[in-house]
């Protein structure tokens, strides 16, 4: 074992740049996972002391935690591909070394262990870096957000959570081992005679074209189906989720399987124009693309994943925040603009929670408002609770408790029926506890309209019947007022007032503002202001996610540079042969640069297609089913959501080719610096 460890360490030292890049990529993913936990806990801890405060702030914390952790996991998975690439290429390169080791008596198992140990040590380095950087990243992001956001302007002091540290370390290590396993197994199967045989490849494989052809037919059929009969218009949960996952899997699988053929065909199609423009370097670069498909595909994978991730996440955020989340509330606030009383100044963001321990409105205020509203406006008392069963996102998204009769009078702000109707709903809620849920929450409980769900409350289990399914205000579930006793609530957190049709809104607004002025600590505002605050909060979440996407770009860049480095070192001999056959350094450099540009263009292009496809499939298949929006314009929304992502995609299309060309050219330049015979691989140093 000592010898194996010694050999693994030697190899790590020999290829330290490659391993450092792989470790950094893992580290970035883990750092994001750690930072997301720190940030999300810092929102609720110390800031929201009371149960109501926690209920109100927990949703922001939950959104951030889910969103940022997801990005962290995606970055880590991307790092996994980088490790897979790096080890797959490295083990191919070291085949002769493995053959020699086998020849002198190393067993399959020892060889497997050696390669896995190299991966584990690389991963461990990444984990240590990630754990340290995660704290810095979390604190840095919080500082940045507090100085720029009107909502997230105060964070609590939190220490690292041992659970999250363990989670991050486990994810990092598991990703590393899984990623390196296949190359390690392949290495362990190296026969001793490999030491004597040079590897070669003709790059011909007709099967790849057959597979690609089959995939093209399948995908064409899929897109025709999505265009002709978008499932988002008719599908119900949970089938929307199943179909989304199935079609995205088909999309990714087909693109993945077709990638070698795509690379090969690009080489065929680009050969003529490249030869015309760049003569031999263009021709050789196009030919290499076609014939070295396996190597090129490996090199491109990291870039494709990076670009697809950026396009996918940006597009998904656009869909979620711009098209889905506030769709109903914006419309209903326009139709029936309400106003509200709150126990704290919502406009002040998280700062408002400082030193506020009582988040309820007083009986006197409620009585006065209800008296003033009599005959002119509907008053809705709003209570906030945390019921994990009803959480729209994760376990800590808040739910409302609202009297359904007042909710009915308030218009469509809080709830709109997609399934069910008011007469049936009120029949339920007048007798018992009723629920108004989005399809997502109903699906989460494996329940549907008129089914009963047991809700855990401080006073035990409470059976509630689903009285209606449809879009709710910001996705929060609504429990009828029968839940008040079970949750031990005596006073509401908000009072929303909706003037009846034909009533003078301005006069009512002035009257209620005057009432609010008489109560200290009560804040009265237009409800659109609350909606705006929600949007601002979402905007900050989105900005933070975009910020972390930068780390994803960094991780992808490391991957690209790494594979380019390995690729150049693998092809050093080839450059030497070209030099010996009469190619000048400039000609060889031109080939390397043109190849890099082609890799970048194809990688970014395929990445854009993959990412766009994932987002469009998701929107067209799921549509508004998460919230239960009827008649959701799936294609219109899909195209609108993907637009900002495509802007980034175009940037990737410009930057990636230059980046890969540079990443390939720099080591190639170093390799070409010596004489032709040195480039061919002689190890002595000339004097």
């Amino acid at each position: 074992m000592r010898t194996i460890a010694h050999l693994a360490l030697r190899e790590l030292r020999r290829s330290w740049i490659r391993n450092l890049f792989a470790a950094l990529a893992v580290g970035i993913g883990i750092a994001t996972i750690i930072a997301s936990d720190l940030i999300s806990r810092a929102i609720t801890e110390e800031i929201a002391e009371s149960a109501e405060g926690k209920a109100i702030t927990a949703f922001m914390s939950e959104q951030l935690d889910v969103g940022l952790t997801a990005i962290g996991l995606v970055i880590t998975v991307g790092a996994g591909f980088l490790i897979f690439n790096a080890f797959a290429m490295s083990t191919t390169q070291r085949r002769e070394d493995f053959g020699r080791m086998r020849a002198v008596g190393m067993t399959h198992r020892q060889l497997l262990l050696m390669v896995l140990l190299e991966a584990i040590l690389t991963g461990a380095l990444g984990i240590v870096f990630g754990l340290l950087a995660g704290v810095g990243l979390g604190r840095g992001l919080m500082f940045l957000v507090t100085t720029t956001s009107d909502v997230f302007n105060r964070f609590g002091e939190v220490s690292l959570s041992p659970d999250r540290l363990l989670f991050g370390a486990t994810v990092g290590l598991a990703t590393t081992i899984i990623a390196a396993l296949l190359p390690a197994i392949r290495a362990s199967r190296t026969p001793p005679v490999a030491a004597m045989r040079a590897t070669s490849s003709s790059g011909r494989n007709l099967n790849q074209y057959r597979i690609a052809g089959g995939c093209a037919i399948l995908l064409t059929a899929m897109w025709i189906f999505l265009i002709v009969d978008p499932p988002g218009l008719w599908i119900l949960p949970p089938w929307s989720s199943y179909l989304t996952v199935a079609l995205i899997a088909l999309w990714l699988l087909c693109i993945g399987l077709s990638l070698p053929a795509i690379v090969g065909l690009s080489g065929v199609w680009l050969r003529r124009p490249l030869t015309a423009i760049l003569r031999l370097p263009g021709r050789l670069a196009a030919d290499n693309l076609r014939r070295a498909r396996a190597r090129v595909t490996f090199t491109l994978l990291t870039l494709i994943i990076g670009v697809a991730m950026i396009i996918g996440v940006t597009g998904y955020l656009g869909y979620w925040f711009e098209e889905l989340f506030f769709r109903n509330s914006e419309r209903s606030l326009k139709e029936n603009p309400g106003m509200g009383f709150f126990p704290l100044e919502i406009d002040a963001g998280l700062q408002a929670y400082e030193d506020v321990f009582d988040f309820t409105l007083t009986d006197n205020l409620i009585a006065e408002v209800e008296a003033a509203a009599e005959g002119h406006a509907a008053v809705v008392q709003g209570y906030f609770v945390l019921a994990p069963e009803l959480s729209f996102l994760g376990e800590h998204y808040f739910s409302f408790i609202i009297d359904p009769h007042s909710m009915q009078q308030s218009g469509e702000l809080f709830f709109t029926f997609t399934y069910g109707d008011w007469p049936h709903a009120l029949e339920i809620t007048d007798k018992d506890c009723g629920l108004f849920l989005t399809p997502t929450v109903a699906q989460k409980n494996n329940a549907w309209l008129y089914d009963t769900i047991p809700i855990q409350t401080p006073l035990g289990s409470l059976d509630c019947t689903i009285a209606g399914i449809g879009p709710t205000f910001v996705g929060a579930s609504i429990i009828s007022d029968a839940g008040l006793t079970a949750f031990n609530l005596t006073a509401p957190v908000t009072l929303s007032v909706f003037p009846h049709e034909g009533e003078g809104r301005d006069e009512i607004l002035a009257e209620f503002a005057a009432i609010a002025d008489r109560y200290t600590g009560v804040w009265f505002t237009d409800l659109s202001q609350v909606s705006k605050m929600q949007m601002e909060a979402m905007g900050t979440v989105r900005t933070m996610m975009s910020g972390l996407l930068f780390l994803a770009i960094l991780s992808a860049t490391l991957g690209v540079i790494n594979t380019a480095l390995i690729s150049v070192s693998e092809r050093r001999r080839e450059y030497g042969v070209l030099r010996a056959a009469g190619a000048t350094r400039r000609q060889v450099s031109a080939i390397v640069i043109v190849e890099g540009l082609l890799f970048g263009l194809i990688g970014a292009g395929v990445g854009i297609v993959v990412g766009t496809g994932v987002v469009v499939i998701h929107i067209v298949v799921s549509g508004g089913s998460v919230f239960g929006y009827p008649d959701f314009p799936v294609w219109e929304v899909a195209l609108a959501s993907i637009q900002p992502a495509l802007t980034r995609g175009i940037l990737a299309l410009v930057v990636s080719p230059m980046l890969i060309a540079l990443a390939s050219w720099l080591p190639a330049r170093a390799a070409l610096r010596g004489t032709a015979i040195e480039t061919l691989g002689r190890r002595e140093t000339p004097l």
Partner: protein, 245 residues
């Protein structure tokens, strides 16, 4: 016959770890136009280094190399490369074909590097492949060819520009005796029929027997030569025994 290759006091030193190795210690060596010369010597005697310096693949530490009246040691890298491309053909022991190109494309490489189009070069490529009996394998990839076939493609690549000089480093070192002989026959024919100058490095007395002259190198210095080839293999064996290399 005029001299086409000449070296004066040619020296080459390498550093291998902490040790400085003197690969060539002031070699004076001349090859005449149309001559077939074999360089023999034990491993590490400097044979390959000498060949690399003659072809401009490597740079000398001291002394001069003249190739077709041009002082190689004074030329810049690009000029050396262009000269190698147009006037020198190289054949290596391990063929060094590009694995992603077909046999014909490998052969065409020096012409394409010199700016010819595929169309312009195709007739010459076909002719050269025919010359080494590989016309029927033009579209094959290197890994679809046997070692002997790969070496013949490599020779075709070296001959395609019709160079004055062909340098071969152990051209039969990786081949069976039959394939090796085919390669040597081709080289001999290039010398006799086309008047090309051939310099090969070899350990193999049978290969050296094809040459007009055999020079022996030991510890970086020329120690002996025999003239009047092609030889009987026994003459080479005797010479080897004589110089004790």
């Amino acid at each position: 016959m005029s001299e086409i290759i000449e070296t004066n006091d040619l020296q080459k030193q390498y550093r291998m770890g902490d040790v400085v190795v003197e690969a060539l210690k002031g070699v004076d060596f001349t090859v005449h136009e149309g001559e077939f010369v074999a360089i023999m010597g034990p491993s590490g005697s400097g044979k390959s280094t000498l060949l690399h310096l003659l072809g401009g693949l490597d740079l000398a530490s001291g002394g001069e190399v003249f190739l077709a009246d041009r002082r190689l040691t004074r030329l810049r890298d690009t000029a050396i490369t262009v000269m190698r491309r147009r006037h020198v053909g190289f054949v290596f022991q391990f063929f060094n074909l590009l694995p992603t190109l077909t046999a014909a494309e490998n052969v065409a490489l020096p012409l394409l590097l010199d700016g010819q189009s595929v169309k312009e070069s195709s007739a010459r490529v076909t002719e050269t492949l025919e010359q080494v009996n590989m016309g029927n394998r033009a579209g094959h990839m290197p890994d679809q060819l046997s070692g002997g076939e790969q070496q013949r493609v490599a020779i075709a690549r070296a001959l395609v520009t019709d160079p004055e000089i062909l340098l071969a480093d152990e051209p039969t070192g990786n081949l069976d005796s039959s394939s090796g002989e085919q390669v040597l026959v081709i080289l001999r024919r290039a010398c006799d029929a086309a008047g090309q100058t051939i310099v090969i490095v070899t350990h193999n007395p049978t290969a050296a027997a094809f040459a007009d002259r055999v020079v022996f190198l030991q510890d970086g210095a020329l120690v002996h030569e025999i003239l009047g080839g092609p030889f009987d293999v026994s003459a080479i064996t005797e010479a080897i025994a004589h110089v004790n290399v």
